[in-house]
C-alpha cells in the first residue's frame, strides 16, 4: 500500500513537471508567427511515415542508422513494458499482464533482445563520441552542455536496460525457487546470462534486487520524460510533427513574401488592387525568434545536434564560421531565453537572435546549396532561417557586404548583376 502511494506521488510529480515543461516548450514554439501550411495532408503524412517513422534519411550513413534503429525500435517497443509497470505500480500488482498467456514470455524475450541491442547501440555511440571522436561531435558549438547531454542520455539508457535485464534475472531465480507470486518467464535470451551472477544470493537479497531494479527502471523513465524537455532528445517526439510540417515544395524554392508583393505592386501601379495577407508579418525578414514561423521554431526544438548538416556544409568544410547546426542551436537557446524572460515578466532584454547569437559573418558564408536540408534526417531547414535573417539585414537595416550592394545596384539599373547594358543582352547572337 505504501508502495502504491509513493508510486502515485512520483508518477503525479513527474507528470506535473513534464506538463509544465512541455507547456513552456509549446508556448515558446508558438512565439513564432503563424504560417500557411501548403500542400496535401496525405503528402505530409507520407513524408512523416517515410522520414520519421521509417528513418528513411538516416540510412545515408548506414552505420549510425543501424545502431540508431536499435535504439529507436528498442525504445518504442520496450516502452510497452512501461504500461505494465505503471499499472502494477498504481494497482499494487506484480506482472499484471502475465495472465495473458504464453505470449507474455514471448514478448519479454523479444524485449530482452531489444534491450541488448539498445545497450550495444549506446556503447557504440559513446565510443563514436568520446573515443573515436567523430569530427562532427566536436565542432565549436559542441560546448560542454551539448556534449554532456548526449552522454547523459546514453549512460541513462544503458542503466535502464541493465536494470530491466537484472529485474528479469532476479524474477526468474525467485520463480524457480518457488517463491510466492514470482512468475516463470521461461528461458530468457539475455537475462539468462545475468542469472549466474545472482544465483548465490539469498531470497531476501534477490527480492531486494528485483524491487530495486523495478523502482530504478520506472523512476529512471519518469525522470527521462522530464529531462527530455530540457534536452536535444526532444527529437524523439518532435521528429514526427517536424517532418509532417516540413516543406513539400522543391528545396530550391524560397517562400514568397506577400507583404513585399503588395508594396511592389503599389509601387509599380498606385492603382493596383492588393489583398492584405492576414498572416503577413509587419517586419521584413527576421531579427529575433518571434519573427520566425512556429514551424521554424519547432525545427529548433527538434534538432538533436547530430551535425550531419554541418558536416555537409560547403562553407563549414572550408573553414568558415557558418555551421547550420549552430543556427538551429542558437535559435533554440534564444527561444528558451525569451521564454524565461517572459516568465520573469521582462518584456525586452536588449538582445536578439540576429547579432547576439548569429553573426553577419556566419550568414554571409551560406551558398544556399541545400546540403544542410538534404542531410537532416528529420527535415529541419536551417537555410530558411539564414535567408530570413539576411532579409532583415538587407531590407530593415540596409546591411550587406559592399560587393553585394554593387551587385544589387547593377541588377536594379541594368538588369544584370554586372555592369553591362541591358541593351547588349542579345549581342552574343551577332558574335
Amino acid at each position: 500500500m505504501i508502495g502504491q502511494i509513493i508510486f502515485i506521488i512520483l508518477l503525479s510529480a513527474a507528470g506535473y513537471m513534464a506538463f509544465k515543461r512541455f507547456q513552456f516548450v509549446r508556448r515558446n514554439i508558438l512565439l513564432g508567427r503563424d504560417v500557411k501550411i501548403e500542400g496535401e495532408s496525405s503528402d505530409r503524412w507520407g513524408t512523416m511515415i517515410r522520414v520519421a517513422l521509417g528513418q528513411g534519411k538516416m540510412f545515408s550513413r548506414p552505420i549510425a542508422a543501424i545502431f540508431h534503429l536499435f535504439l529507436y525500435v528498442g525504445f518504442v517497443i520496450i516502452n510497452i513494458e512501461v504500461i505494465e509497470i505503471v499499472l502494477d505500480g498504481v494497482l499494487g500488482q506484480h506482472r499484471l499482464f502475465h495472465g495473458i498467456g504464453p505470449i507474455y514470455n514471448w514478448l519479454m524475450a523479444s524485449f530482452e533482445v531489444l534491450a541488448f541491442l539498445v545497450i550495444l547501440g549506446c556503447v557504440v555511440f559513446l565510443y563514436r563520441r568520446n573515443i573515436a571522436k567523430l569530427a562532427r561531435f566536436h565542432w565549436r558549438e559542441m560546448t560542454n552542455w551539448p556534449k554532456s547531454d548526449a552522454n547523459i542520455i546514453l549512460f541513462t539508457e544503458i542503466a535502464l536496460m541493465s536494470a530491466f535485464l537484472s529485474m528479469n534475472a532476479a524474477e526468474s531465480i525467485l520463480a524457480a525457487r518457488g517463491i510466492e507470486h514470482y512468475v516463470n518467464l521461461g528461458t530468457l535470451p539475455i537475462s539468462q546470462f545475468v542469472t549466474p551472477f545472482l544465483d548465490g544470493c539469498s531470497d531476501g537479497m534477490l527480492i531486494f534486487v528485483e524491487r530495486f531494479c523495478w523502482w530504478f527502471h520506472i523512476i529512471g523513465i519518469l525522470a527521462f520524460i522530464v529531462y527530455l524537455s530540457y534536452s536535444k532528445h526532444l527529437h524523439i517526439l518532435l521528429a514526427f510533427p517536424n517532418t509532417y510540417y516540413s516543406k513539400l515544395r522543391p528545396a530550391g524554392a524560397l517562400d514568397n513574401m506577400s507583404n513585399v508583393t503588395n508594396e511592389v505592386k503599389l509601387m509599380m501601379d498606385p492603382a493596383a488592387q492588393v489583398v492584405e495577407d492576414p498572416l503577413a508579418p509587419k517586419k521584413f525578414g527576421a531579427k529575433d525568434v518571434a519573427d520566425l514561423t512556429w514551424v521554424q521554431l519547432m525545427n529548433a526544438y527538434s534538432c538533436t545536434e547530430c551535425g550531419r548538416c554541418t558536416s555537409q556544409c560547403p562553407a563549414n568544410q572550408t573553414g568558415k564560421l557558418l555551421s547550420p547546426r549552430k543556427i538551429m542551436m542558437d535559435t533554440r537557446d534564444r527561444m528558451e531565453e525569451v521564454g524565461r524572460c517572459m516568465d520573469a515578466g521582462v518584456s525586452y532584454d536588449n538582445k536578439s537572435l540576429l547579432g547576439d547569437y548569429i553573426t553577419f559573418e556566419e550568414l554571409w558564408a551560406c551558398t544556399s546549396c541545400n546540403a544542410c536540408t538534404e542531410a537532416c534526417p528529420i527535415n529541419i531547414n536551417p537555410l530558411e532561417i539564414i535567408i530570413d535573417l539576411r532579409r532583415y539585414l538587407m531590407m530593415e537595416e540596409s546591411q550587406s557586404p559592399e560587393s553585394i550592394t554593387t551587385m544589387l545596384t547593377n541588377i536594379e539599373n541594368n538588369g544584370a548583376p554586372w555592369a553591362f547594358a541591358q541593351a547588349d543582352r542579345g549581342n552574343w547572337t551577332q558574335e
Binding site: S60, P250, G252, M268, G319, M395, W428
Partner: protein, 262 residues
Amino acid sequence: MAEFQVRTMADCMAAGETPEVLFWVGCAGSFDDRAKKITKAIANILHKANVSFAILGSEESCTGDPAKRAGNEFLFQMMAMQNIEVMNAYEVKKIVTGCPHCFNTLKNEYPALGGNYEVMHHTQLIQDLIADGKLSIEGGAFKGKKITFHDPCYLGRGNGEYEAPRALIQKLDAELVEMKRCKTNGLCCGAGGAQMFKEAEKGNKEVNIERTEDALAIQPNVIATGCPFCNTMMTDGVKHFEQEHVIAVKDIAELIAEAGEL
C-alpha cells in the same frame, strides 16, 4: 552565330509567329565570354532539332535570383514582375534556361507572382529532344572519355534532377565516372546564394578548390557542368591546380554540340 539568326520574341511577334519555346539566356549566358559559348551551343542544338524558339534579347532582365538569396525581396519581386509582364505579353508557355538558378526561380518562385510557365533546364529539354527522335547524337569526339558530372545545387538538390545530364553523358558513349560526393551529396561549387558576386568569408580554403579536388581524385578527361557559374568555379579550380591542359571543363550542351559537330 553565322549559320542561322537567333530571333527575339519581338522579331517573331512582328512576323506574326508564336515560338514554341522561350530560350531564357540569363546574365552569365549573355555577358560572360566563356558562358556565351554554352549559350551558342544550346542555340545550335535547338536549331538542329528544329525547335521553334526565340530569346527575349534586350527585353530579358535578371530573374532576381541573386537579389532574393541576398535577402532583397523587394528587388527580386520588382525584377520578377517586370519579367512576368514581358513574358505574359508574349504569351510564353514554355521556357528553357541555360542556368539552373534562372530555372529554379522561374519554375518555383514566379508562379506566386503570376508567372506560370513550363520551365525546363537545357539538359532536360535536350534529353526530351533525343527521346522524341528530334536530335540524334553519336559518341564521336567523346567516345571512351572519362567524364564526371558536377551537380549544380539548384538542379540537383534544389529540384531533384540528377538523371537528365547523366543520361546525356551516357549518350556520348563516354565513361561516366562519379566523384565521391555526387547527386544528393554533391558539393556546391561555392557560387550559389549570391556568393558569386562577393569575396568568400574568412576560412581555410575556397569551396571551388575543395570541389575541384573531388574531381581531380578521379582523373576525368572532362568535368561536365550544367551551370555557367559552376563552370567558372570549376574552370578556376582546374587552373589553380594547373590541370587545364589535361582536364576540360565543359557544359553538357557543349559536349552534345561538339559530338554532333554543331
